[in-house]
């Protein structure tokens, strides 16, 4: 079976090659046909891998190394992409899937352009398939077949982490198609309104799953690692944030190109960069050049192959850009105070923010080359990324109302007064009842400001209540995404400034006060699961009249010889009461004390809800029709 899969993957490689050939010869029909064939054959190859995992066929080396008969079926299947080789196979499937989707959905009325885009997409797929088959083949057999597998990294045996990689890859690899569209447009020297109209949907189609994938990864780290936080500014996390920021800039700049024909070169550059940063992310994660809390077992050789791919593909695209960009047609005139200017500001901030993240992430590599071992942590990012973004968020509600070409500034003083008032309110509340630091007060003011701004903008466009439901999906999408951003900021500010962390050491029957809660350790018992056993503590938490039972576990997976932390979370309505179980320590009197890490994380749900709204908003504006009612044309 797996040999059939191996053969199919080779066949997919051949079909991709044909896709490239016909694509570059501008044969739209045949390029599309081979794109679809390549996808179907690679999908079959991937299914043979899934089948081997589902059946625990340990004669396949990959299954032996990353699976176990006692694992639940769902995790056996998810184990297919819970390792390097399998995840690269998934990367190929997704890349070919975008090629096939492009062959099916791309209808611009310019077959030569479409053929070229498919050809370049085929080239990217070809590169990833070659890497899969030559440098990290998942189709290797073992002889004789072992009787039992050595188990998946137990940290990955988790529902959020089962769907996190496919989501993230849909985003990363989704940008490969945007890259292909940009390269095809540059080859023809035509990045215009029609191009942007075609590219915009694909940019959003990559942005939505990338957003969800990052959120899932963050949520997993929150409840599975037992450290209480949701973002650690770890290199692997930053690796996904960089393409996200560039992707966010792209989806704003492509609007300008679509509506006005301006920013053509800039939009093309961002389209190229989004995929370059996706590849950089894959390189950082897979090569292990940086110390990360999420790093996998790594292989430096594979890292250098990935890096070479990044340099060659990214370099040639940038070269193409440098040759063609000066020849692109500029759009109509505009002044700085205009919607064009506003979106240019948005783009500047997002790209500069991405650059600061990149600097902080890659600086340790640079320093290492100079002989110093250092690491860059959270304080750096709080000093650079956060103020830069804050600046943009304050401006957002004001500038989104600006008109194309030239905007009217007469109401600017109202906006300034409004924001100053909001800051004053939160500052007064901050020093008084809320007892939060001044900067957190400013942060909360920005959050409320964003949500107010989103509501104000759709109201400005609709003007009456009856027209609100008739507003185009794109406008609703923008409103939801910007409001979601506000919700996210509120959650992030509250969680970061008001989180409390306490370490407890309790014997059975003892209690201790934590952040207003009385925590009592009732007992600690041993339990067993399909492929693990655990110590499970039962804690009763009481505050006033409310009572909650929390059962955190410390699991041990014998097959992987590895313990994991299973946190317990009680939602109080405004916060998460979060408990992680540590180890049992025998005291001098022979009593066992159990250690616990207890966090009270206020409003952390706002963070995930906000990010979900951003993804939903981007999704809505993707499916929405472009045609708008005449009355809103004033925008």
């Amino acid at each position: 079976m797996i040999e059939a899969g191996h053969f199919a993957a080779f066949l997919a490689l051949v079909f991709s090659g044909l896709q490239v050939g016909f694509g570059l010869r501008t044969d739209r029909e045949r390029a599309g046909l081979f794109a679809k064939l390549a996808f179907v054959t690679m999908l079959f190859a991937f299914f043979t891998l899934i089948w081997a995992f589902a059946r625990s066929d340990f004669s396949v080396e990959l299954v032996f190394e990353h699976s176990h008969t006692l694992k639940p079926l769902g995790y056996k299947i998810a184990g297919t992409w819970g390792n390097h080789e399998g995840s690269m196979a998934l990367w190929c499937v997704v890349g070919l899937g975008f090629g096939a989707a492009g062959a099916w959905l791309l209808k611009t009325g310019r077959p030569a352009f479409e053929a070229r885009a498919l050809g370049i997409q085929g080239l990217l797929s070809l590169a990833s398939l070659a890497y899969l088959l030559l440098a990290s083949s998942p189709f290797t057999r073992l002889d004789p077949a072992p009787l039992q597998g050595s188990g998946l990294n137990p940290l990955l045996q988790d529902p959020a982490l089962a769907i996190h990689p496919p989501m993230l890859y849909l985003g990363y690899v989704g940008y490969s198609f945007v890259f292909a569209l940009a390269a095809a447009g540059l080859i023809e020297g035509r990045i215009d309104r029609d191009w942007a109209k075609a590219a915009r949907g694909w940019a959003l189609a990559a942005f939505v799953p990338l957003t969800l994938g990052i959120a899932l990864g963050s949520y997993w780290a929150y409840y599975e690692l037992g450290w209480g936080g949701w973002w650690f500014w770890d290199p692997v996390e930053n690796a996904s944030l960089m393409p996200w920021l560039i992707g966010a800039a792209l989806m704003h700049s492509v609007i300008v190109t679509e509506k006005r024909g301006s920013f053509a070169a800039w939009t093309a550059l961002l389209a190229v960069l989004a995929f370059c940063f996706s590849m950089l992310g894959a390189f950082l994660v897979r090569s292990g050049v940086l110390t990360s809390v999420h790093a996998f077992a790594v292989d430096p050789l594979r890292g250098s192959v990935l890096l070479a791919g990044l340099v060659v593909l990214g370099g040639s695209a940038l070269l193409l850009f440098a040759i063609r960009a000066p020849k692109l047609k500029p759009g109509p005139d505009y002044v700085a105070v205009s919607r064009e200017g506003a979106l240019m500001g948005n783009n500047l901030v997002l790209t500069v923010a991405a650059a600061t993240v990149m600097l902080g992430t890659l600086f340790p590599l640079l320093a290492e080359a100079l002989g110093e071992t250092i690491s860059v942590g959270e304080p750096y990012f709080h000093l650079t990324f956060t103020p830069i973004m804050a600046l943009a968020l304050v401006a957002l509600p004001v500038v989104q109302a600006w008109a194309w070409g030239k905007a009217d500034l007469s109401s600017l003083w109202k906006w300034a007064a409004g924001f100053a008032g909001l800051v004053a309110v939160f500052w007064l509340a901050g020093v008084g009842p809320l007892d939060i630091p001044l900067l957190a007060g400013v942060g909360l003011a920005i959050a409320v400001w964003l949500i107010f701004g989103a509501a104000q903008e759709i109201w400005r466009r609709a003007k009456t209540v009856e027209r609100l439901p008739k507003m185009p999906m794109r406008v609703w999408g923008m409103t939801l995404a910007h409001a979601g951003l506000g919700l996210f900021v509120a959650g992030a500010v509250l969680e970061t400034t008001a989180r409390t962390q306490t370490t407890l050491a309790l014997q059975e029957g003892q209690s201790q006060e934590v952040a207003g809660w009385t925590m009592t350790l009732d007992d600690v018992s041993s339990i067993e699961g399909p492929n693990w056993y655990a110590d499970r503590a039962t804690l009763t938490a009481t505050r006033g009249g409310t009572k909650a039972t929390l059962k955190p576990q410390k699991r041990y997976y014998p097959a992987a010889r590895m313990p994991t932390t299973e946190t317990a979370i009680h939602k109080t309505g405004t916060a998460d009461l979060y408990v992680a179980l540590g180890d049992g320590r025998r005291s001098r009197e022979g009593e066992t004390r159990w250690t616990f890490e207890v966090f009270l994380n206020p409003f952390i749900d706002f963070i995930y809800l906000g990010v979900a709204l951003i993804a939903l908003g981007a999704g809505l504006s993707m499916v929405g029709k472009r045609k708008r009612p005449k009355t809103t044309e004033a925008a």
């Binding site: 037992g226 790093a295 077992a297 500001g345 690491s375 304080p379 000093l383 932390t565 005291s587």
Partner: protein
């Protein structure tokens, strides 16, 4: 001329933003890049500044791990050079933190050479360990 002025404005704003971002980043990096030490390096080059955030890596010395009455714990980090650093930490150690295993502790030195860790990084599966430790290992062998 208008197009040119416009472009100048655009480039000017971009440059100003970029310069301030780079300045901000350079300052932040200068203050907040955490240097990595091993016990041997400290003995050789002297102690890092008191109160500055640094990272110390090596192995947890066999038999050195001791627990206090609460959640406090102490252990020695060694790196094969014969030197050690005493680390104290309050909290739950990572799942794979054990005597004899590799560890990277982030924290600050006190006035008497005692090190208080804020975060402890151990290898987090059987195949992966913090990158710095590989170099310590190479240096020791």
């Amino acid at each position: 001329m208008r197009a040119r002025t416009k472009r100048l404005w655009g480039v000017g704003t971009a440059a100003a933003l970029l310069v301030s971002a780079v300045a901000l980043s350079a300052m932040a990096l200068k203050q907040h890049a955490d240097l990595f030490y091993t016990p041997g390096l400290i003995a050789q080059n002297g102690m890092p500044d008191e109160g500055k955030r640094v990272r110390v890596g090596g192995w947890v010395q066999e038999g050195s791990l001791a627990y206090g009455d609460g959640a406090e714990m102490n252990f020695l980090i060694e790196d094969g050079s014969g030197e050690t650093v005493m680390v104290s930490y309050t909290g739950i150690a990572p799942d794979l933190f054990r005597e004899g295993e590799g560890v990277v502790a982030t924290g600050r030195f006190g006035p008497h050479g005692d090190f208080t860790a804020e975060q402890i990084l151990a290898k987090h599966d059987e195949n992966y360990e913090p990158r710095e430790l590989k170099k310590v290992q190479q240096a020791a062998s």
